[in-house]
């Protein structure tokens, strides 16, 4: 059932897509990204910012979706957040929803400043954990006009406690963020063998023919726990007024949270739900799933 996967190491980018590396500033830090665009398209182009799962870099699922959306007519930006991948900034490898959201807004300002981009048509696509950051950015930033989420991970405080094994566990993790040496404590993000890894035996991140590519930092600062666990990704539901699209399946990691966001927001919302054999990780690189999801996002953005 798993189907063909998009191989990040050697899959050619979709035909008719050109790319250029870009740099822009966010709060005084230089960020690096790749702007994918349809070949031979006449400007100004509609644009979309694409961000991926926690700990991920622009060459992983964000790049995958950016290329797909470029093939569908959008100038699509995948970039590394502050302290991750090729971008500057320290401390490094901190999964900080607040700074990541600021970086998304900096990316929106950057795209809006480009001559070949239509500043009135800059949308966003968040995959997995960055869904929460994207939702905040779209809710609060007038430069962003639409919110698309693929396999959204939208935990709130209560859910974070459940996921990580209870309030005692999360309190311990948060305490490790507050320890004096937290900045020097960098964990392995994903590992097949090392049980201390944050994502022990997770698919995709531990597979060299999938997400475990050379450009992946595969690191996770202990500083992350506090900002990550205390994050309420549901709160933006009250402020979101712009059109939103949820792409997922009954088998994504947190289906109840996606539904809770859906129930809470008053924003016009569409939902494309794939079959229950489609897992969270399938959304990152299963070819038929990526195609369906990218089609759904492109259709939503064009509407």
């Amino acid at each position: 059932m798993s189907g063909t996967r998009i191989n990040l190491q050697n899959s050619p980018r979709p035909e008719g897509v050109i790319e250029r590396t870009v740099t822009f500033e966010s709060h005084g830090v230089q960020l690096r990204g790749v702007l994918y665009a349809p070949e031979n398209a006449s400007p100004p182009l509609p644009a979309v910012i694409v961000t991926g799962a926690w700990t991920s870099v622009k060459e992983q699922m964000a790049g995958t979706y950016a290329r797909e959306l470029a093939a569908r007519g959008y100038a699509s930006l995948a970039f590394d957040f502050r302290g991750w991948g090729e971008s500057d900034g320290s401390p490094r490898y901190v999964e900080d929803p607040v700074t990541k959201t600021e970086d998304i807004r900096a990316a929106a300002a950057f795209l809006a400043s480009l001559d070949d981009i239509d500043p009135a048509r800059i949308a966003s696509l968040g995959v997995c954990a960055s869904s929460g950051y994207m939702a905040v950015a779209v809710a609060d930033d007038e430069k962003l006009n639409k919110l698309a989420l693929v396999a959204p991970w939208l935990h709130d405080l209560e859910m974070a406690e459940t996921i990580y094994g209870g309030a005692d566990v999360t309190a311990g993790l948060i305490a490790s963020s507050e320890a004096l040496n937290a900045e020097d404590t960098v964990l392995i993000a994903a590992s097949q063998k090392d049980k201390s890894a944050v994502m022990y035996q997770a698919p995709y991140y531990t597979e060299t023919d999938r997400g475990l590519i050379a450009s992946y930092d595969n690191k996770f600062s202990a500083l992350s726990w506090k900002s990550w666990l205390n994050y309420d990704a549901q709160a933006s539901a009250d402020r979101l007024k712009k059109p939103a699209l949820l792409v997922g399946s009954p088998s994504i990691a947190l289906p109840a949270d996606a539904a809770a966001y859906e129930a809470r927001t008053r924003a016009p919302l569409q939902k494309v739900w794939l079959d229950e054999d489609v897992t969270q990780f399938d959304f990152y690189d299963r070819a038929d799933v990526v195609t369906k999801s990218a089609d759904a996002v492109a259709q939503f953005l064009s509407g």
């Binding site: 996921i163 009954p250 289906p255 109840a256 809770a260 859906e262 809470r264 739900w273």
Partner: protein, 305 residues
């Protein structure tokens, strides 16, 4: 032969779902909530309704004409733990009060996915405790008899409430009334969940983690039912939860629980909520009323002996 109104009930369900834009393939929470709108069926004339706060949970006390307020049915509505409320179940609560001659204390428990298991279960138990302590008129002092009841997911809540009462060492209710209960949340065994992806999609929204679907407080078919009070279980041959009600009844009986099991020909899932227009709904509520009186009179005889 079922009444002609059964067709009307089926059409009402179908058109409500169509109007709300319910998807056949996935569970869209906003559409699902819109598909169970405010019921406009009439209430018994002179029914008194008051909203109260019962141990921090919103509840409605419903007293139809002729109801003896010393007799209380704590009632939990259905809707898959995700939808429904007093707005959709008001006539059912009122006609139950009328036909059973008892006050109904209706729990507006918290719904998932905003409030996942066990939030709703905790609320239902809180309302039950209130009923033990206060009586429906809000006066201090214990009511003479307390039953619990519920339809669909509310049937599960009724069982969970008894489990929690037993665990807390509180008095268990005189009896439990389960109408087309959604009693099995395990995809491996529930026929309803095997039926459609939409049903599985919905049930996963009830819990924070899938293993909760095997917690007896969520899925009562897994519960130890020893020491349970008598139960009346009503289902219908066209109820998509018929199978799990039958299995639950068998399980309860083999645990030594006194069970009255009724399988109504051609009746659909929670047909009782179409009272007073659907004659079989009225009849079903009358049987519930008679059953509660029977249980009470037997208890009195036992006490006298």
């Amino acid at each position: 032969m079922p009444s002609r109104e059964l067709e009307w009930a089926k059409q009402t369900i179908a058109s409500d779902r169509e109007l709300a834009g319910v998807s056949a393939t996935h569970y869209d929470i906003r559409a699902a909530r819109a598909s169970l709108p405010e019921s406009r069926l009439p209430l018994p004339e002179g029914t008194e309704i008051r909203q109260i706060v019962a141990n921090d949970v919103t509840a409605y006390r419903v007293i139809a004409p002729g109801a003896d307020v010393k007799r209380v049915i704590v009632y939990f509505h259905g809707g898959g733990f995700l939808v429904g409320g007093f707005h959709s179940h008001r006539p059912l609560a009122a006609w139950l009060s009328h036909k059973a001659g008892a006050a109904v204390l209706f729990a507006e428990y918290r719904l998932a996915p905003e409030h996942r298991f066990p939030a709703g279960v905790d609320d239902c138990f809180a309302v039950y405790r209130y009923a033990l302590e206060h009586g429906p008129d809000g006066m201090e002092g214990e009511p003479e008899s307390v039953f619990v009841g519920g339809d669909s997911a509310g049937g599960a809540m009724a069982v969970s409430t008894i489990l929690k009462a037993r665990e807390a060492g509180l008095r268990v209710p005189k009896g439990a009334i389960i109408l087309c209960g959604m009693l099995d949340l395990d995809e491996e065994t529930s026929r309803f969940l095997q039926l459609t992806q939409r049903s599985r999609d919905g049930v996963r929204m009830y819990v924070s983690q899938l293993k909760d679907l095997r917690n007896p407080l969520a899925s009562p078919i897994l519960a130890d039912l020893s020491g349970f009070p008598p139960m009346l279980i009503q289902t219908g041959t066209a109820d998509y939860c018929a199978d799990e009600n039958e299995r639950f009844a068998e399980k309860a009986m083999s645990a030594g629980v006194e069970v009255d099991f009724e399988n109504w020909p051609e009746m659909i899932h929670v047909w009782q909520r179409f009272a007073p227009k659907l004659p079989e709904a009225v009849e079903a509520l009358e049987r519930i009323g008679a059953w509660t009186r029977l249980i009470e009179s037997r208890a009195e005889n036992t006490a006298a002996a």
